[in-house]
Symmetry: C2
Subunit: 360 residues, 2 copies
């Protein structure tokens, strides 16, 4: 197996920040997942990142992630073993050895949680994920578009409870897993979507973890070179700058296990006199300037600090912050009719059609 890259403790700083950028406001605080992954790598050694094509067609590939409202995850740090518990319980249920770990979501937390399992199990980690970004519900992965079942799936909590689900659809998996996660205190650790290497080659968004690392590195280097980190980020992602502004109003509630709400920005500089409204459900889903929709899910909408380019999550938005809102195109798989049905604005009950952002 050709080694694409070995990921060590220091690399996770970049990956976590990059994950938070692709996380588009959701996917949790990058600090949490990073600490867990760094601890695992310190204990077990570095993680080997592999390209999808390096895996055999009959390999068994299993994604892992943390599920729940990011606001809760931040307050309820997992003890570290729960992810491995879920992973090994699923391996037992499958009745065969798992060959590689996969990332389900590029978010602040979930871009790094798979490193915990890869380090502890000694298995390679696939350089890719199931979204190329973050989304709030667990059926919202490219795996679903390829017909992969989310179950058998294992959920574990920090108390020692575990649940194995077998469902008739990925929407049912979301429903039952969400109810369990809420009951478990708002967050749970998951191993799910077991799939063959053959299927994974079609279903996975490739290169996501390298992209996370590149995003983090780009921001870090721009800062140390006293260059403009936001400009560097825009370049790298092919993003559009939607708005320069300060938060004027923020409304947030934890509802049905999600962090839902909206943020209103008052424009500054080129956007003085205008206002921008962002709707979110864990992730930013709709950007509307003075009543005009500028970008919608599944395209990515990100908010970063104007000075540092640091990504801002929906749960850390604060009144008065000076921020830049960006948007950039999603993976082509999301732009298919099936993709739009699964994660487009109408799924989230916004009365808006998806209009693809042009490539930057």
């Amino acid at each position: 197996m050709k080694i694409l890259r070995t990921v060590d403790v220091a690399d996770l700083d970049d990956i976590a920040i990059g994950g938070a950028v692709l996380g588009t406001g959701g996917g949790g605080d990058p600090y949490i997942g990073k600490l867990m992954a760094q601890q695992a790598i310190r204990k077990h050694g570095p993680v080997t990142l592999v390209d999808m094509d390096e895996l055999a067609d009959d390999a068994l590939v299993v994604p892992v992630c943390m599920m729940g409202a990011p606001t809760v995850m931040t307050e309820k740090l997992p003890q570290g073993d729960e992810l491995m518990n879920a992973f090994t319980a699923l391996e037992k249920r499958m009745g065969r050895r798992i060959d590689a770990v996969l990332c389900a979501e590029a978010g602040g937390v979930n871009s790094t949680t798979p490193f915990v399992v890869a380090a502890a199990s000694g298995l390679p980690l696939v350089d890719g994920d199931g979204m190329g970004r973050a989304f709030p519900e667990l059926q919202m992965v490219t795996f679903t578009l390829s017909g992969v079942s989310a179950t058998p799936m294992v959920l574990c909590d920090d108390k020692g409870n575990s649940i194995v689900l077998d469902t008739v659809s990925n929407a049912w998996t979301e429903r039952l897993a969400r109810a369990a996660t809420i009951e478990m205190g708002g967050s749970a650790l998951l191993a799910f979507y077991p799939m063959s290497g053959r299927v994974a080659k079609e279903a996975v968004v490739r290169g996501t973890l390298s992209l996370c690392a590149r995003v983090g590195r780009t921001l870090r280097r721009a800062r140390s070179a006293h260059a403009d980190p936001v400009a560097a980020l825009v370049d790298l992602l092919g993003a559009q700058v939607l708005f320069h502004g300060r938060i004027a109003d923020i409304e947030r509630r934890t509802e049905g296990g999600f962090a839902r709400g909206q943020a209103t920005f008052r424009g500054v500089e080129r956007d003085a006199g205008r206002s921008l409204r962002l709707e979110f459900q864990n992730e930013f889903l709709i950007a509307e300037r003075d009543g005009e929709v500028l970008a919608t899910t599944p395209d990515l909408i990100g908010v970063v600090e104007a000075d540092s380019g640091a990504p801002v999550t929906t749960d850390s938005l604060k009144y008065g912050q000076r921020l830049v809102t960006l948007a950039w195109p999603c993976h082509p798989l999301w732009r298919t009719p099936e993709g739009i049905e699964l994660v487009g604005p109408r799924y989230f009950r916004y009365d808006v059609d998806y209009r693809p952002l042009p490539a930057g």
Copy 2:
């Protein structure tokens, strides 16, 4: 194995009615479980009832039941296979053959659901249960008092979803299973509390199914002999007549997956001028006459029609009905400090101490 009794289609009429009497207002409509069980017996043949002592110490015994608010169960009839699905999934999870089926609860539905599995599997059914009555939560079984874990447990629904739980306590099992049951539409089919014959001999309330049959037969015979069915029932159970009255007010809500509420009776005959209030959570839990507590959980409080002695469930209480309220002593295991802690009035947040009813 000595055959205690063979239960055929006709016997289930008595058992279901007796189960509804021991079900103390909860445990669902006796009609539902009976239909399922009769259908299974017609298809697979009669069920063999065995005494606990006929089982080997190393036998594997598994209780099955339906979980949910009785109000929902009545509207959402299971398709029949879900119980066997749960049972065989648990057998697979245990990695060995199950030797006997057990009844978890003597209620309108759950005194008969185990017959479905016993008939379909051809396994003997133990003449006993885990309560000697019905209770609203799944940790409320004598199995818990004997230290038996409710998990591994399997829940199945009517859509084809299934869940395997492994929990750190039976209270956690209740919490997670309740959330899943609500999400599954309000009811689910369970196989749980797998235990050895040795443990079951200590943990099971014996003779419950025969008692159900005897109660049903007693009512039926009293009616055909034009005798007083209520008097015959009082005799058989060693019950006290708490109150003769008509329902003056009934307040009912489905809350957290339970049918909760209270019923107020206006006295007639010997109780004219008095009033009785019953509190329920699926089952009747407290009986209070003119402010004086007459009986509390875990002792059994039952409401029957004055003329026919037919048991009335909390969800079929109607304004103006002429009813008799009875109470009789629970199984001695419930009168221990551990029993009172698990199912006494304070667990249900009533500010009342348990005072054992004298034997009738």
